[in-house]
Symmetry: C2
Subunit: 345 residues, 2 copies
C-alpha cells in the first residue's frame, strides 16, 4: 500500500509524470518506458491510490447505490447487475442500505458523498427531504438516477419499469381466469401497481372492495399477515396480487398453512420474478422486471451524464412481462365458460 508511483518511477528509471501517463492512458509513453513501467508495477505490486487520483481528477470511479434492504432478493439481483455493469465501465459500486428509514437514507447519501461517488443510484422509499437532497446534488452536477423513484416535479432522472401495465396484465390474467374477488397487497394507492390493478378491475366491471386491498407494509411478514386477514373475510378472495415476489411467496406459504389450496382455491401473482419464484410450490406466476436492463441502463446513464453533463432530467420506462406459472388457475366456481370472456367489458 505504501508503494507509490514514485517508487515505480524510480524502479523503471522514468519520472512520475510518465508513470501517471501510463496509468491514465493520457499522453504518449514510449514503447520502451511502457514495458519497464509495467514490469516495475508487477514487481512492486503497485496499486495506484484512487484517493490521491480523485483529489486531482474529482473522479473516484465509484457509483453509490442506495437501497432499503439488501436482503430483499430483488434488490440483491439489482445490486449484482449494477456491479457487473459498473465493472465493465471501470466503476466500483458502493452500496449503502437504509433499512427503510428516511433519516438513514439522507445519512447514506452523505456517506456516499463523503466518499466522493461519481454518481448515485437511488431506490425507494424516498422522503421529501431525500428528494430535495438528491435534486440539489443533481443540480450541482452529480448524476443521480432514481430507480423506480418517481418525483412529482421531475428533479432527477427516473429509470423505471412500467409497473402499471405489468399490474394491469397480471390482474387481467386473473380476470381472464374468471376471478371476481381479487385482493391486492401493496405499498400505497398511488403506486403503479395499484393503478394497474384498479384499471383492470374497472375494465372488467368488477367492484373495488376496500377490504380486499391491503396497503402499507410489504414483504414476507406483510404477505403472511395479509393472507391471514383475507382468509378470514366472509367473501374470501379467490386471487391475490402481491406487490413483489417476496410478499407473494409468503402468501403461498401462509395459504398452504391454512389449507387454502393454490391454485385450486386461490390464485397468486407476484412481481419481480426472483430466482425462487421459478421454483416455489407451486411455481409463481409473476411479472418479470428486466433487472439486467435496469442495471445496464442505470450505469450507462451515469456514465453518459458524467460526460454530457447536464441534460434535462428524463424518464426511461422499461416494459414488464407477465410469466404465467402454476400459482394461477381458473376461479373456483367459474366453470369453463369464464375463460377470458369477461375481460373486455
Amino acid at each position: 500500500m505504501s508503494v507509490t508511483a514514485y517508487d515505480v518511477a524510480k524502479r523503471a528509471g522514468v519520472s512520475v509524470g510518465t508513470v501517471s501517463r501510463f496509468l491514465t492512458g493520457h499522453g504518449y509513453v514510449g514503447k520502451d518506458s511502457r514495458q519497464r513501467i509495467a514490469d516495475a508495477i508487477t514487481q512492486l505490486g503497485f496499486v495506484p491510490s484512487r484517493a490521491a487520483a480523485s483529489l486531482r481528477t474529482k473522479k473516484t470511479g465509484l457509483i453509490g447505490f442506495v437501497v432499503s434492504d439488501l436482503r430483499n432478493p430483488f434488490t440483491a439481483v439489482l445490486a449484482t447487475a449494477l456491479q457487473e455493469r459498473s465493472r465493465e465501465h471501470g466503476f466500483g459500486v458502493f452500496i449503502a442500505h437504509t433499512m427503510g428509514s428516511p433519516d438513514r437514507a439522507i445519512a447514506a447519501v452523505d456517506l456516499l458523498r463523503g466518499h466522493g461517488v461519481d454518481g448515485l443510484v437511488v431506490t425507494p422509499p424516498a422522503s421529501p427531504a431525500l428528494v430535495e437532497q438528491l435534486a440539489e446534488l443533481r443540480q450541482s452536477g452529480m448524476p443521480v438516477i432514481g430507480l423506480g423513484l418517481r418525483t412529482d416535479p421531475l428533479s432527477f432522472d427516473l429509470l423505471t419499469v412500467d409497473t402499471r401495465s405489468g399490474a394491469r396484465a397480471a390482474t387481467d390474467h386473473l380476470v381472464g381466469l374468471g376471478h371476481e374477488r381479487i385482493a391486492f397487497i401493496g405499498t400505497s394507492r398511488s403506486s403503479g401497481r395499484y393503478q394497474g390493478y384498479r384499471a383492470a378491475l374497472k375494465a372488467a366491471g368488477l367492484p373495488l372492495q376496500r377490504e380486499r386491498v391491503q396497503v402499507g407494509a410489504v414483504g414476507p411478514d406483510a404477505g403472511w399477515n395479509a393472507t391471514t386477514r383475507f382468509a378470514a373475510l366472509p367473501d374470501r378472495p379467490t386471487a391475490i396480487f402481491a406487490f413483489d415476489d417476496a410478499t407473494a411467496l409468503s402468501v403461498l406459504q401462509r395459504a398452504h398453512a391454512l389449507d387454502w389450496p393454490v391454485p385450486k382455491a386461490l390464485s397468486v401473482v407476484g412481481f419481480d420474478d426472483v430466482d425462487l419464484a421459478r421454483r416455489s410450490v407451486p411455481p409463481l406466476t409473476t411479472v418479470v422486471q428486466p433487472t439486467d436492463e435496469l442495471g445496464r441502463i442505470a450505469v450507462a446513464e451515469i456514465v453518459r451524464q458524467l460526460t454530457d453533463s447536464l441534460a434535462e432530467p428524463a424518464v426511461i420506462t422499461l416494459p414488464t412481462e407477465l410469466v404465467v406459472r402454476g400459482s394461477t388457475g381458473p376461479a373456483p366456481n367459474a366453470g369453463s365458460a369464464a375463460k377470458g370472456t369477461r375481460r373486455k367489458s
Copy 2:
C-alpha cells in the same frame, strides 16, 4: 461537492486548522468557534472529502467485503449485518463480488485496495493465489479476516462457525429419527460439513455410500439436480442433508415436484437458517449460523487490529445450533422403536 473546509473556515471566521480539529475531534475547539463552524457546515451543505483526508491519515473508513454472490441469501444477510455493525464504528462497507472466479477475487481485492479500504473481510471460495495475496496484505499491516476461509498455515485471522459440529448435530438428528440412507450435498469432502456428516454416520455404524454424496456445486440448481439423481437411485435416500438453505430449499421443491413427500418419505436439513427457511413448505429444519455475531465480531476484529496492529493470526470459532422444524420426520419404515435409539451406535 466543491465546498471545501476553507469555505467553511471563511464563513465561520476561523482557520482551516480549526475546522479540521472540529471535524476530527482531535484537539480543542472553543465553544464559540464550534458553534459557528457547525452552522457554516449546515448552511453550506459541506461534506468533508474522505479522499483528501485519507491521503493524510491513510484511513478511508472503508471496510472491503469480498463475496462470491450477493444473491445468495446468507451472503446478503451477512453483508447487512456487516454494514450495520460497521456503521456503528463509523465505517462504510465496500462490497465486491467475484461470482466464484479466482481471478475476479484477486481483481476484487485490488479494486478494494485501490480504494484504500482499511480492512478486508473475505468469504469463500479462495484460491491459493488469493490466499497468498491476502497473506501479503496482512503482513504489510492490513487487517484481513477470512470468514469461513480456512487456510492451512494460518496466514490471517479466521472467523468461522463450527460447521463440523453443526453438520454432526444435523446428521445425528436424522439418525435419531431412524434414517439410515442419508444423502449429502456439499462443496467438497474436506469441508467441515462433510466431516460432521461422516462422523455422525460412523458413530451410528452407518455405511458411507459414494452415490449418496454429491460434492461440487451447491445452490438452487445443484440442489434440484442432486435431488433428481438421488430419486433415481435404487435405494432412495430417506434423508438429505444439504450444504445450505438455498440448496435445501430447492431440494424441497424438487421433491415436491417428484411427488416425494417431505417429511413423510424424505427428510431434509439445510444450513444457515435464512429467512425463507422458516416459511418454506414444510418449514425447513436447519443449522443456524450466528450471522449477527459474525458481522459484529468481524468488524470488531478489524477495528481492533487497526489499533493493536499486528497480533498473531487467530481463529475465532462460533457455535451453531440445530433448529428442528417440519422438514424432518421419522424414517419411513423405522417404526416407533427408532426414535433416538440408534444414535449411540
